[in-house]
Amino acid sequence: MTHRPLYAKKHHGRWVVLLIAVAATYAIWKSFFVFDADKIIANSELKNKSFASDVAEIVAPKSGIKAYWMQETSNPIVSMSFVFANSGSVRDEKKGTANFTASMLSEGTEKLNSQSFKEKLEDYAISISFGADKDDFSGSMVTLKENLRLATDLLHDAVVAPRMDEADFIRTKNQILQSLDYLRERPQHRLNEAVNKEIFGSHAYANEVLGKTADVKGMSVADLKTYIKNNLTKDRLYVGVAGDISREEAEKLIDDIFNDLPEQGSDKEIKAPSVDFSARAVNVEDSKLPQVLSAVVAPSVPRLDRDFYPLYIANYVFGGAGLNSRVNQAAREKEGLTYGAYTSMSMLQQSPLLVGGFSTTPQNFAQMSKIFAEEWQKMGENGISEEELASAKNYLVNSYNLRFADIGTLADILVSMQRENLGLDFLQKRNSYVEQVTLERVNRVAKQYFSPKKLIMINMGNIKAERN
């Protein structure tokens, strides 16, 4: 009798030893060879938090200017960004006027000459800057809260009473002319010029924001003053205020800076360019370049189009996801043909485009462009998979908070929410816009926009060498 239990016990003991051995092997195997990301996140002591992104619309009492405002007090910094919409280079009479004006607004005010103005900015760590793109004229101010009064006065005077001394004007002109020379040194810029010419032809979207050498040479102070009178006006102004500033202070700030601007400027209608998207390859020979640089262009949708988010996701999967994008997986990670390929959505107001590019040495060029075209076709024909959709949504949702890294960017976001008509609740709703996108919608949109019939490739470099 005692045998059985003993035997059984012994028998059982063997199993236990075996089980322990198996479990130990598994544990060792696991600790050496298995990485469980989900478990790490689930056991993480730092949990998800949402960013308190309370955006309010405020109204400046004197001027009636509406703006978006977000209070964020972790550092004593105040930031304001603004845009004068539809005042960008596409509306330039002389090419380069908007950009030239942007440069000259930092060159002093009626009260302070250029050097005194710049010294004040340096002495008090105030940043005031202006810029132009094809659609809009923009500006920003970043200051310590303690210097807000001074920053306000400086920005007010820069916008309302810019100085425009002849000597500063000539110096700035020479610097812009040299910037144009500098751009011509850059192969990527020369490719962009070829792209603009091919896509926009004689439409003003084809022009470089910095302008044309002859036009910049011929620019006068009077040209800039006319531009200011017609464009820096309340009727097209969007303002965002972020940082360590109360609602009342923000409202007053806006009045103090902008109330003296004219109510209305003059509008210049710009027709949308009629782009011929029929598929083609355009080659620009340049035998001296070490690589062939390529750009791709295809039609896209405006920001508020119902297809925007589906196309955004399709683009992300195709060429927007960095090394994980399909095009980088196929051309870079698998074949080593290029340092990188990408696509993105270009949001020109009158001509939304899907754009992209890559570069590779001449002997790889044929294979590289073939892979790009094949992936493009596959995207149109088959769309994306459930897994790809889930990955894209995960990235877009999980990376959402990264945009709130600094106060200056917050103010920029507030401006673009208004400029693009995204609504006051955009920051709360944005992740749901992403989540709602269905596979069916993405694939329908992919079929339409990733069409081999509408894909333009513009290549620059030693293309003949590869053919011979």
Binding site: A167, T338, L396
Partner: protein
Amino acid sequence: MKKLRFSVLFAVLMLIALPVRAELFGLKGYVLENGMRVVVVPNHKAPIAKHMVWYKVGAADEKLGKGGSAHLLEHLMFRGTRKVRGQSFNRILEENGADSNAFTAQDVTAYHEFVDISRLELVMALEADRMRNLSIDDESFETERKIVYQERKQVVENNPLYKFNEELQRLFWQNHPYSRPITGSENEILSLTDKDVKDIYRHYYAPNNAVLVIAGDIEPETAFRLAEKYYGDIKPAKVPENRLKFDTEVKTKTTLRMKLPNIELPRLVKKYHVPGYAEAKGGIYAYMVLSKYLGEGEVSKLYVDLVVNRKMATGVSTDYNFTAPSGGSFSISAIPAKGVSVDEMTAALDDSVKQAMSELNDRTLQKYKKQMLSGLVYAKDNPNEAAQIVGMLATAGMRDDEIENYADNIEKVTVADVKKAYMQMLQSTQTEAVVEPEGAKK
């Protein structure tokens, strides 16, 4: 090309360009038992964090003829470990919304992830894993070597100035490893073997040769505990002795003159061997003030004199690199105005520097020092930037309190300090380099 990774050449961030108070970042430091230094910059604005692991190894540690191996290793670090196989590293980061990248410089290689705070532990686990478990298979080695070859073509050689930049480095650094390009030359890249990169990984990728920087929504104590949890059990390694310093005993003055096709603008660069943090320690602040005074920004002396008043140049700037452990450098660069020859530009620049130094007095010095200190709070507003600056200073060897006491150290600089620094610079080994468009008349 916004999302492209692995930018080789990273601009030297200048602390001096930043707009402090007593404490620059409010950082806290800690050292794990295995020797890994941890620096935390708390920033509670948004629930996000920047995580960076900086290894004190770069292109300057490569063996002769093995140029590009540190950089190729950086690429291969994304190609899988025993646990996180193949492309999984990038996939996991993507699923979790991380923006990740890495860069290789002469003295450091850094890996970084910008993440939602709920994913910070995940990236710590991933980064700790690839500190010890890297696995390199033949296929991914071959592919990645092709990619870095293309990277050199795209990022370096497509720039029509690259030959000038590389020649200037070569002449200036003479026989020191800093004279060689970070990417390696074309031939070196093509001849690299997996042994070359494994050598660097084995010798230098160890906790006692790394600095961990975390900037973001986290308390230092939590960060230290997590650092212990994820990195604490990695064994230290015997790291090779520091490489040679640049030989400054024999002083030389060299000149480089080049003409290049496809460039439109002439450029002038004057470069001086001056002590960096490794040699000068507290002496660096005088050079920082000198650089600010002479050529940082549009109210600096050289800019006002040469660009605004005399109209000899359209741009002029200075740069002081103090973080390179083998030797610091001070550069003055200018672009002559149209119609001004490079010889006229050089003469005017020398003259302008002398004039500026003769005008230096307590009052002007105070003014420029105040500018350097007026907006230092900006430095910690963005966790990305804070982590980058802190990582670079920490890997250069600066202690936490030295990083924090930037303002006090700048305050202490006197006119005599700046003048002494300047005199030392004039007597140092130096290179004057000019590049002009091909076909330009003298």
